[in-house]
């Protein structure tokens, strides 16, 4: 007569499995900690700073107005501003950046590019990105973000966004609110 199958020494097996799973879980936990630490060290390889729009400086166009530290164009022609960013990382170059603005003009957008300029011994050396533009165009336009990628530089070059802010439209003012530059570190 054949006896019904019974798990051999199931108590010992359960103990073994419990230890095995505990050991595997512990290793995976350690691996996760290591990966997180690596990720964190990568993230720290950037030095990002956010600036208020009021730091932008007019170089052409009407006199700007300032509202909650955003810079606006209350005039009837385009306002041209340069928005400086601190260069404090010696490893040269920008990793990325963005500009946030409210475009309330129906046809003329807020337009910006990112520049790096170095006054060399005999002249000028500079890097620039392509221009990016908002797509807004109404009184209820939301805040839009223009994003920029990497840009070359020299160790003593300075950084700035060059932006165009459209004139008022139907009494509504467009604003450049905030901008950011993330340097390579």
């Amino acid at each position: 007569m054949e006896l019904p199958y019974e798990e051999p020494n199931s108590e010992w097996r359960n103990t073994f499995m419990k230890h095995y799973y505990l050991s595997t879980s512990l290793k995976m936990f350690v691996a996760a900690i290591c990966l997180t630490a690596i990720g964190a060290s990568q993230a720290h390889a950037l030095d990002g700073k956010v600036y208020p729009g009021s730091m932008c400086v007019r170089w052409s166009g009407p006199t700007p107005n300032y509202n909650n530290s955003a810079i606006g164009n209350p005039g009837t022609t385009t306002l041209y501003v340069d928005c400086p960013a601190v260069h404090d990382s010696i490893a040269s170059g920008i990793n990325n950046g963005w500009v946030k603005g409210i475009d309330r003009h129906f046809s003329s957008p807020i337009t910006c590019n990112l520049n790096s300029l170095y006054p060399s011994g005999t002249g000028l050396v500079g890097w620039w990105t392509s221009y990016k533009s908002t797509t807004g165009g109404s009184a209820s336009s939301p805040v839009e973000t223009l994003t920029f990628g990497s840009l070359g530089s020299a160790s003593t070059a300075h950084y700035y966004y060059s932006c165009h802010i459209p004139p008022t439209y139907a009494g509504y003012t467009s604003y450049l609110m905030t901008y950011r530059v993330d340097e390579n570190e």
Binding site: P8, K27, V125, Y131, G152
Partner: protein
């Protein structure tokens, strides 16, 4: 007498009930502790019975399962080792790149290694800072030249790009800036310009970024004394090599 017997009956009944209660409690206590001992004995007996009933096939099956679990563990450890070795390889490649970069800077005798710390930078004199910045620019120019020369011309784009450049530099917007030569390949154009001095170099820089015939990244080196400028302009959608 009858009356006395009647009065004694409840007392006797109560006394009997108390005795029954005590007995029941004693029995419950006995059973409460006894089963655990019995269960232990039974469990021991069952274990012994089980050990006796374990067949060689069962043992072999268990061993095979242990081996399978060990293999799984070994696989995980192997994967972990591979990941570690890949990370080590990447780290050594990064170190090699930094070393090559430093070596190149030293060979050219132009500057300190690029990856200096801020603390080191603070100790540099303005002349040393300038030397380092110039070295970085030379490195950038060499990289751009190398990229340009390594590209095969995309004839369709080259014709369009050079026509667009010619049109732009003949426009009113670029007054004071003459296009002397344009060399476009696949993702990059190299332009040689002449600034006639009627426009300040910083204004020319702004114009180059703003009035480019297409939206690409750019790099320019302007020599004020000679009026010569060299521009590297990427094709739309491409970035400058860094």
């Amino acid at each position: 007498m009858v009356r006395k017997a009647k009065s004694m009956f409840p007392v006797g009944l109560g006394f009997g009930l108390v005795l029954v209660s005590i007995g029941a409690t004693a029995l419950w206590v006995h059973r409460h502790f006894e089963p655990s001992h019995t269960a232990t004995v039974q469990a021991t007996n069952q274990s012994e019975d089980l050990a006796k009933r374990v067949t060689p096939e069962d043992v072999a099956g268990l061993k095979a399962e242990i081996e399978r679990l060990k293999d799984g563990k070994t696989g995980f450890e192997q994967l972990s080792r591979e990941m570690k070795s890949e990370m080590t390889a990447l780290r050594s490649q990064l170190t090699q790149v930094e070393r090559d970069q430093n070596l190149r800077s030293q060979e050219e005798g132009l500057a300190q290694p690029i990856a200096d710390t801020e603390a080191n930078a603070a100790t540099l004199t303005p002349e040393e800072e300038q030397t380092r910045a110039e070295a970085q620019i030379q490195t950038q120019v060499a990289l751009l030249e190398g990229t340009l020369l390594g590209e095969k011309p995309d004839s369709a784009w080259v014709n369009t790009a050079q026509l667009a450049l010619s049109t732009t530099f003949h426009s009113e917007t670029m007054a004071g800036v003459q296009l002397m030569k344009a060399d476009c390949r696949t993702t990059l154009c190299r332009l040689e310009l002449f600034l006639d001095g009627s426009t300040a170099p910083e204004d020319s820089f702004r114009k180059l970024g703003h009035a480019s015939p297409w939206q690409g990244q750019g790099f320019v080196q302007i020599d004020v004394e000679s009026g010569k400028a060299v521009v590297y302009l990427t094709r739309e959608g491409y970035s400058l090599p860094q």
